[in-house]
Amino acid sequence: MASPDTARHPDLAGLEAGLDALDTVQVRRTPVRQVLLRKVLPPVTAVVLVLAVWKLLVVAGVTEDYKLPDPAAVWDSLRQLWLKGTLFDIIWTSVSRGLLGFAAALALGTPLGLLVARVPFVRAALGPVLSGLQSLPSVAWVPAAVIWLGITDAAMYAVILLGAVPSIANGLVSGIDQVPPLYLRAGRTLGATGARGARLVLLPAALPGYVAGLKQGWAFSWRSLMAAELIASSPDLGLGLGQYLENARTDSDMPGVLLGILLILFVGIAIDLAVFSPLERRVLRTRGLAA
């Protein structure tokens, strides 16, 4: 480069390279050992501790056996279900209901959230209702759903929708509200207006809030579904986790009750860990918002 610029600024090219090298953030992957040590070990320790305390309480005989059964008895119930071949059927009945309901909630909640965020009239009309609905436990809808729709799958889905749609819609609204105005102005100067602006700038910018809403929406879906299955349990419906729990209660089968609770907890956590947490982490990490 023998341009007059560099002739007068012989030091600038080197200076620039030095600045860039100094300033660039180094991105590094964490090794597997560290992941095991930091992410896997603590929860495993916690579970082992809980089991140990449980076993200790049983051995110490703090209460009658029918109230606090031995962990081994719960394990035995699990083995029975496995041997009968119904374990996965029960889980799948609930999970498929939950996921289908969640998908429907997604399809309804997303356009609703967009409308509330972008149309002032709709926001004034529905915004407070949507936030209010979020604090209404969706189990409160079960009696109404049963009277309207009977003890049917439709009633289950209705309860899921009433629980999850407000979360998803609210997540999108707050995601859109938190988009820095600078991005919108930058989008406009680049020519991203109208529908193209919404698709290329507004929605991607609102994604972190939206994904947080999805995560919460799933938790609400699962919770509402379990409440509905517990209360509106009937032999005509497929046997889900909630019904399994309710049946164990009527049989005074405490190991079965504890197993039901643990399975519900486990499935809820597993789906969050398998789907929503990775999704959220990915969205945040590409934006430099999470380590």
């Binding site: 610029d5 200076l15 860039d20 991005y183 102005r185 100067t189 020519g191 290329l200 910018a205 430099g288």
Partner: protein, 257 residues
Amino acid sequence: MAPATTTALAHAVRLDHVDKTFGRSGDGRPVLEDISLTVAPGEFVCLLGASGCGKSTLLNLVAGLDRPTGGRIDVPGGRPALMFQEHALFPWLTAGRNIELALRLRGVPRPARRTEAERLLDLVRLGGSYGKRVHELSGGMRQRVALARALAQDSRLLLMDEPFAALDAITRDVLHHELTRIWRETELSVLFVTHNVREAVRLGGRVVLLSSRPGRVVREWTVDLPQPRRIEDAAVAELSVEITEELRGEIRRHGKP
């Protein structure tokens, strides 16, 4: 980027008696009053003024992000490119994709975008940073990507709102040099806002001083120094002293009852 298009236009932007008053949210006093200013094609004009005098407001008007209360703004070359004080890059896209988004919105067909994005990154000396995330870049690199994205609009007029204000002196110096080089290579017209007098003299062919409340054009200087200049050049310092004196007087005026 043929020089022919540059000479075909009489001016890059022309403001005729522009006024701006903010309704409702403002106090009703005009922010800008009777601003008349012309930037010739290929000219580099620096707009200088104290904080809050309405420089950003003026650029927003020229960029079409806001409307003037009175007067006329003529930008014959179409929508100008605007570079903000903050980089305003989209964090969900890589450096290269940010530039490609600008190309896409300009109507460049998909196959041509990648090569054009890489050419622009090379132009700001960031070849090889195509796949970098915004948060992986330093402040100076971000502003260079932002410059490349603004250039991707292929507008004849580039508006810059204190783009280097948040950078350290050495990085800023390097970017002044890059900007001057790119301006000369592309024959762009630039309207560059700053409150840094030396920066204005270092970069501009003309320096326009705005007063505060209301913002009016107080005075302008033609900078007859050859480019590339350096911020520490004696001639740059000399003119800066003169302009700073005038700016001080402008600010002092507001202290009097």
